[in-house]
């Protein structure tokens, strides 16, 4: 990561990033460019450096902020019409921690509206294009953040991961993407999607950059009662011992693209050649994770999105004569189709008569899934799996087929249900040049070891 010092000014780093962002404007990566403030902040850092004053660990490092993090710089829209015009008076804790270390937000990135999606095509502002193939999706929901890092516009970007929204776009664009342990990073000031699975995380170009970001952003926050007491910084240093790596054998491997299977097999061989032990795992409940996820998450979405009513902030429909009409019209006009699908599914699985068969059943399935992870991590240190069954698909290919889109999440959602961390790592490219990603999964609180161990998966050229 390039950090401002006496030879490279923060202003240079920020101006370069802004210039690249404009150069790639066709990709629809950004919903807002923070030009004026970013340059002002960079100059202040340069002044401090010149005066010999102390600067932070991320001094002058330009970064991109997924547009579901609140801060007073630019509108926070979550790429949703219903939040149009919303400039937050408060700043997300994660943003504050990064900025306190001198990181400079150069722009807000595009996402599927309210992070509902796996391609960034559900954005009110239109889709983001893949960094390696303009006709393909960026992945999602944090598509803009992934492409901003992949095209080297910024050194890192923030993301949120509710079911794969960091790991999948990271894998579609060949960068590192971490979904930390549930509760590791404060979610204060982040637009809520599903409170029992939402996680804040990052896109970065190297494991070492990821480690720096995690050491800065993690930790307990009195403003988010679901943050764990600090553990990241005090994690035991990585051991040089040989590790046991689990491979999930009974997963639905037939639906995984053969080139992704091959990439996994190659990494398994690499790990073996480096002396690590490979262990076959049986996790039969995982094939139900997607169904459980698409019950639990919509239920929480229906609840979290009930707050958007046009009264206090954001978009308000104009032609309403009564308060009920105002709610109804604002929500009818303000939500995208995918938002409506998820809210309706949520209200379906929670409604009397269906609650036991769907929501309660899914909550029980979640217990089984957690149990399988616990059992697995009594036998292995980490698990290595694909992130998604396919590399980046074509724009428009799945956007009108929600089930096909949901199936892309089948290998990523179980981590969120279990609250365990997962790191998407680049694993080469397929024949047509599209990046392939794998994910390294660890037990809760293993984030630091996961990042360190991912270096074992790097090829030595």
């Amino acid at each position: 990561m390039k950090i401002a010092n006496k030879t490279v000014t923060a202003e240079r780093l920020v101006r370069d990033a802004l210039e690249k962002a404009k150069h790639f404007s066709d990709y629809h990566i950004f919903t807002f460019l923070n030009e004026e403030n970013a340059i002002k902040k960079a100059r202040e850092i340069d002044r401090k450096i010149a005066a010999g004053e102390k600067v932070g660990r991320l001094a002058g490092v330009p970064y991109a902020l997924k547009d579901n993090f609140l801060s007073p710089e630019g509108e926070t829209t979550a790429s949703a019409h219903i939040l149009e015009g919303f400039v937050s008076p408060v700043t997300a804790t994660a943003v504050k921690k990064l900025e306190d270390e001198g990181a400079i937000m150069i722009g807000r990135t595009n996402l599927d509206a309210f992070a509902h999606g796996s391609s960034t095509e559900n954005s009110y502002f239109g889709p983001t294009h893949n960094a390696f193939d303009f006709d393909r999706v960026a992945g999602g929901s944090s598509g803009g953040s992934a492409v901003a890092v992949a095209l080297d516009i910024v050194e890192f970007a923030t993301g949120t991961d509710t079911g794969g929204s960091i790991r999948q776009p990271a894998s579609f664009n060949g960068v590192y993407g971490l979904k930390p342990t549930y509760g590791c990073i404060s979610r204060y000031g982040v637009v809520a999607m599903a409170s029992s699975t939402d996680c804040v995380g990052f896109f970065a170009q190297t494991p070492d950059d990821m480690d720096v970001l995690m050491s800065i952003a993690s930790g307990q926050d009195s403003k988010d009662m679901t943050t764990l007491p600090d553990y990241y910084g005090s994690a035991e240093p990585e051991s040089t011992n040989k590790r046991r790596i689990g491979i999930i054998k009974d997963f639905d491997n037939e639906s995984v693209d053969p080139e992704i299977q091959k990439a996994l097999a190659q990494k398994v061989e690499l790990l073996r050649s480096r002396g690590h032990e490979i262990v076959d795992l049986s996790m039969p409940s995982l094939k139900y994770a997607l169904a459980a996820y698409y019950i639990i998450v919509p239920a929480e979405v229906a609840s979290n999105l009930s707050r958007y009513d046009g009264v206090r902030y954001g978009f308000r429909s104009k032609e309403s004569t009564t308060l009920n009409e105002l709610y109804d019209n604002t929500r009818s006009e303000g939500f995208m189709s995918e938002n409506k699908r998820r809210i309706m599914i949520g209200n379906f699985v929670l409604s009397s008569g269906f609650y036991d068969a769907y929501f309660l059943k899914a909550a029980k399935a979640r217990t089984l899934i957690i149990g399988e992870y616990e059992k697995a991590f009594s036998k292995v240190d980490f698990i290595l799996t694909p992130v998604s069954p396919n590399p980046a698909f074509k724009l428009g290919e799945k956007v009108n087929d929600p089930i096909a889109m949901y199936l892309e999440d089948m290998m990523s959602v179980s981590l969120n249900l279990a609250g365990v961390p997962g790191l998407a790592i680049p694993a080469g490219k397929n024949k047509t040049g599209l990046p392939i990603g794998l994910q390294l999964v660890g037990p809760r609180r293993s984030d630091k070891n996961l990042i360190q161990f991912s270096k074992e998966l790097e090829e030595n050229d």
Partner: protein, 95 residues
Amino acid sequence: MDIKREDIIHLAELSDFSLSEAEITFLGGDLRGIINYISQLDQLNTDDISPTYQVFEMKNVWRDDEIKEQEANREQLLKLTKDEKDYQIKVPKVL
């Protein structure tokens, strides 16, 4: 299971929005497909399994009820609304 047109309209009502005719058709079709997909959980045996609703490991603790300074003040919050008068948010008539 059979999801009828009235069920779709009812779900939209529960969700506080209305659907156009076109949305009733295509979202209705999507919902049928999704509900059919998630119904595969029937096949999973969950006898004697207790449900999990959250994965945060900590127990609730009580703290003193202190008044803390908030990041946003009243003026800043009221500025976010579309219509405001005398420190009140204005909305159309309720009844």
